[in-house]
């Protein structure tokens, strides 16, 4: 015997009003705990007998302001190299990845070349490549070739980073479901068209989160060019330091880098998050 049921469903539960006590207590506790821990750390550092010297050496406001114009000017070079290198890497690595994904037996030598390229440039420190190209090639004095260290240093960065980015693209290509290739082939598209219209648009979308990380990493690694004399932010800060024996200029450069990379990192997080949401929706 089923007990008698009410004729209408019960009403939805009443929404409780904002409960101050429930919200306030955990908030207070976490604020207090932050205050205690960070306050303690600050007290420890500032109470140290060496602190005034550290402050003078690294955080001197006068020196910082004095160094800012030239360091900022150098940082502009960083940004320029970063943007140009990014564009070159994006295109060159994509070309490599597409060649590596071609399936016809005729493409075997080209596939092999790409594999060798990746092994070589992923296996060498970017710093070594920058020195090798940036000092080495201008020293050859070959007519017709640019002799600027900036150009060849940037060239080395592109070679090195393309090896990584190629692998990211390739992972994106491999992640496209095999059925997509079958469907495109069955429609009569040739191999190039299958790649261009069916595979690549999906592969690029797959690759975006990983590419964002590379973009952030590249933004900092452009500073490697300072070792071959390119007057970027780090180099300018170094020059200032060597004449004043004060490291505050380095801190200025550091702040400029953070100013540029932190928003990029947040953007990368956001893109990754959006991509995850999209995938979950697709799976559900």
């Amino acid at each position: 015997m089923i007990p008698e049921q009410p004729t209408t469903p019960p009403p939805p539960p009443r929404r409780r009003g904002f409960d101050w006590r429930r919200a306030l207590v955990p908030g207070l506790i976490s604020s207090l705990s932050i205050l205690v821990v960070f306050g303690g750390l600050a007290w420890l550092i500032a109470g140290n007998e060496n602190w005034p010297r550290i402050q003078r050496q690294f955080f001197s406001l006068d020196h910082m302001l004095a160094a800012l114009p030239r360091v900022a000017w150098g940082f502009l070079t960083n940004m320029k190299v970063w943007l140009i290198a990014m564009a070159c890497i994006g295109v060159w690595a994509l070309l490599l990845a597409v060649i590596r994904s071609l399936r016809g037996p005729w493409f075997a030598p080209f596939r092999l070349m790409v594999v060798l390229y990746i092994d070589l440039f992923r296996g060498l420190p970017a710093l070594l490549l920058v020195i090798l190209f940036g000092f080495g090639i201008p020293a050859l004095r070959i007519p017709g070739l640019p002799s600027s260290g900036l150009f060849w240093g940037g060239f080395a960065m592109v070679l090195s980073y393309s090896a990584y980015v190629c692998e990211i693209y390739r992972a994106g290509i491999d992640a496209v479901h095999e059925g997509q290739r079958a469907a495109a082939k069955a429609l009569g598209l040739n191999e190039g068209q299958v790649m261009l219209y069916a595979i690549l648009p999906q592969a690029l979308r797959n690759a975006v989160p990983s590419l964002m990380n590379i973009v952030v990493a590249l933004q900092k690694d452009v500073a490697l060019l300072s070792v071959i004399g390119v007057r970027d932010a780090v180099r300018e800060a170094q020059i200032y330091t060597s004449s004043t024996f004060n490291y505050s200029s380095m801190v200025v450069a550091a702040l400029l880098f953070l100013l540029a990379t932190i928003p990029m990192a947040r953007l990368a997080d956001w893109v990754t998050h959006r991509d995850r949401v999209r995938r979950l929706q697709l799976a559900g």
Partner: protein, 245 residues
């Protein structure tokens, strides 16, 4: 129209197709049934060369499918295929999915391809969804788009690879109705299916595959009501027990 002779295919050491011989006449609908792994889908995919057989031949109107005279896309123009998992391109709108092959393979202009695409969508009552992305559609709607995409190339033969297997039961009907409409138009079809009711209803001939061989081949009435081969009988009895017949 299609003549398959002695078709044999190994996946490694595993024999998937064992000397399959089958003829499909123009306007005929042939259903391939059998347990999973019996080689049905492999046989289907050999017909449009998504899979290359190891031995044997497939001829379309007397011309071998691997004949160079087909060119790069000649065969795919005449043989369309629809997959179990739809395989629509997720980054393209419905209309662009359908226009892709007419534009890039057959060289139609944008306007011509658009008209063609809308016409095939109308065939399945899907015009409203032309601007939608595949992921915004239900499984049944996606599969009807996949049918429209295959038909936009005006194929003479349509291969259907378990097109209802991934659908929720209440969505199977709409896709089946669409395929029934194609039979009425006289399209030649080779259909791999697990829906016995569908095969019984639609097929001119049903082939039962077991271990890579066609062990029995008969009109649906005969095959379902009076199967001759013991393996066919066993297969149908099992479906009957499972309540799928």
């Amino acid at each position: 129209m299609i003549e398959i002779r002695g078709l044999t295919k190994y996946f490694g050491e595993h024999l998937v197709l064992d000397r399959v011989t089958l003829d499909v006449a123009k306007h005929e609908v042939v259903c391939l049934i059998g347990a999973s792994g019996s080689g049905k889908s492999t046989l289907l995919r050999c017909i449009n060369r998504l899979i290359e057989p190891d031995w044997g031949s497939i001829r379309l109107d007397g011309v071998a499918v691997e004949d160079p005279s087909w060119g790069k896309t000649g065969l795919q123009r005449r043989v369309g295929i629809v997959f179990q998992s739809y395989n629509l391109f997720p980054h393209m709108r419905v209309i662009d999915n359908i226009m892709l092959a007419p534009r890039k393979v057959r060289g139609l202009s944008r306007v011509e391809a658009h008209d063609k695409a809308m016409a095939v969508l109308a065939l399945f009552g899907m015009e409203r969804f032309a601007r939608a992305y595949p992921e915004q559609l239900s499984g049944g709607q996606q599969q009807r788009v996949a049918l429209a995409r295959a038909l936009a190339g005006e194929p003479e033969v349509l291969l259907l690879d378990e097109v209802t297997a991934a659908l929720d039961p209440e969505l199977v009907g709409e896709v089946m109705a669409a395929i029934r409409g194609l039979k009425a138009q006289g399209l030649t079809m080779v259909i791999v299916t697990h829906e016995m009711g569908f095969a019984r209803d639609l097929a001119d001939r049903v082939c039962f595959l077991d271990g890579g061989r066609i062990v029995e081949e008969a009109p649906p009435g005969a095959l379902f009501n009076a199967p001759e081969h013991p393996r066919t009988r066993q297969f149908l009895e099992r479906l009957l027990e499972g309540g799928r017949l």
